[in-house]
Symmetry: C2
Subunit: 228 residues, 2 copies
DNA sequence: CGAAATATTGAGCCTTATCAATTTAAGTGG
DNA sequence: CCACTTAAATTGATAAGGCTCAATATTTCG
């Protein structure tokens, strides 16, 4: 069952950018395979490692004071995360979204030392952090959308762009509707309704719950920035 | 008049973090003074400089495809911005919010070269980028709030924390209500109403349009994370 | 001093959150 | 492998909250 579950996503979740860093950096890496919903790091943990998603998908979240969960980011293969300074502790939780999600772990102290001595590594870390910044800025624009269907459509376009494979407009959504709702700051019901509305309007074609295609014109509309 | 205008803010906008980088880096810096609403950089500009606010306040924004302006960030003294890789072009506009806003400009190529040769500079740049990441993540949590008064309150707390001076709970808002609205993805009217509601409930004390104080208990409530 | 922003307040409509019920899918243990 | 239990997804009805349009202060700036 678990195997079949993994197979379901095998070809769906692909690397887009930064498949790996400089060799000297990759030498520090260890791989870790995670169960579904397993924590990769938790709030209050010390910052001992920096990470990169090798396969699968992860979600960065936090529990707000009002009890609501808020998803800050979805992490796809090639995305680095948890890259922050020492001394402090984590303020977010990161969990695997799908069974078998694998992360590359880099010991922070050693990697920082390496960045000091090897300019190529230093440059690479900066580059990776810039990419994270872009992701978050793009995300803010999505959250800034006013109507729910707009938010959902922008979200689908974002996910399509971030894991571009399977051709134009194809989108894979391994996460639950609850995850999407917490990501877009909407209720699950509204997300569900927005999806059916988009389907009815033929803005999307739904293969199954986790696979859909965005129609060409709906795809064009949301071409908004993501960089500094 | 312009002078008087500057004086109005003189003691209000203070540095909190990272007053300056390593000396070798500061040697590259040139200062630039801006008029109110003057562009610091614009969309499509090449990435030739990295910046730090020295005095005043700036706003990073973009025009969405639907014609709405979206503010991605407010930039306070000590905040670095525009730090992204070469090759591409800017996707956002950055403008001075108040008359006399002064920015420190660092030529990107020379600074990157310096980061390669001087580990201290490299480390500093990483640190600064981490701070920008934290800011954006905190911002996402604010945007994720559901009700308008909650968003506004969280915004006030954020601004208070970011330019902590003038004592506990004091907040200075040099920007217009329109800026706040575009920052929180609300309409101006809703922002205005939310503020009056907070005032009526005694959650805030309004000195004048640009100066207010957050009541102690309202301040406690919103202690949500901001870091990786 | 006059013109143009900027702020605030009101009324009505529209959208979304909430509560509730049903259907579908997924995970568990025999 | 199937029945069972639990989680996930969808759909409906209702009420609250925010956006829009509109009017009126209040400031700011030329």
């Amino acid at each position: 069952m678990l195997v079949a579950n993994s197979v379901q996503w095998e070809k769906s979740i692909q690397v887009k950018h930064s498949p790996g860093g400089p060799p000297a950096m990759e030498a520090l890496m260890t791989l870790r395979r995670c169960r579904r919903s397993e924590a990769i790091y938790s709030r209050e943990d010390p910052v001992d490692y920096w990470y990169r998603v090798a396969w699968g998908m992860a979600r960065k979240s936090t529990l707000l004071s009002d009890g609501h969960r808020r998803l800050v980011d979805f992490l796809l293969p090639g995305n680095y995360f948890g890259i922050s300074a020492a001394g402090r502790r984590r303020n977010f939780d990161v969990e695997a979204v799908i069974e078998g999600t694998t992360v590359a772990c880099f010991p922070r102290r050693r990697l920082e030392a390496l960045a000091d001595s090897d300019p190529e590594v230093g440059r690479f870390i900066r580059q990776v952090t810039f990419e994270a910044l872009q992701r978050l800025q793009a995300r803010i624009l999505i959250l800034g959308r006013t109507t729910a269907p707009e938010k959902v459509r922008a979200f689908l376009v974002e996910m399509g762009q971030r894991s571009r494979e399977g051709g134009r407009g194809a989108v894979v959504l391994p996460m639950s509707r609850y995850d999407i709702a917490d990501y877009l700051a909407l209720s699950v019901e509204t997300v569900s309704r927005a999806l059916t509305r988009l389907k009815v309007r033929s803005a999307i074609v739904v293969a199954d719950k986790h696979h859909l295609t965005i129609a060409g014109d709906a795809l064009e509309e949301a071409a908004d920035p993501g960089m500094e």
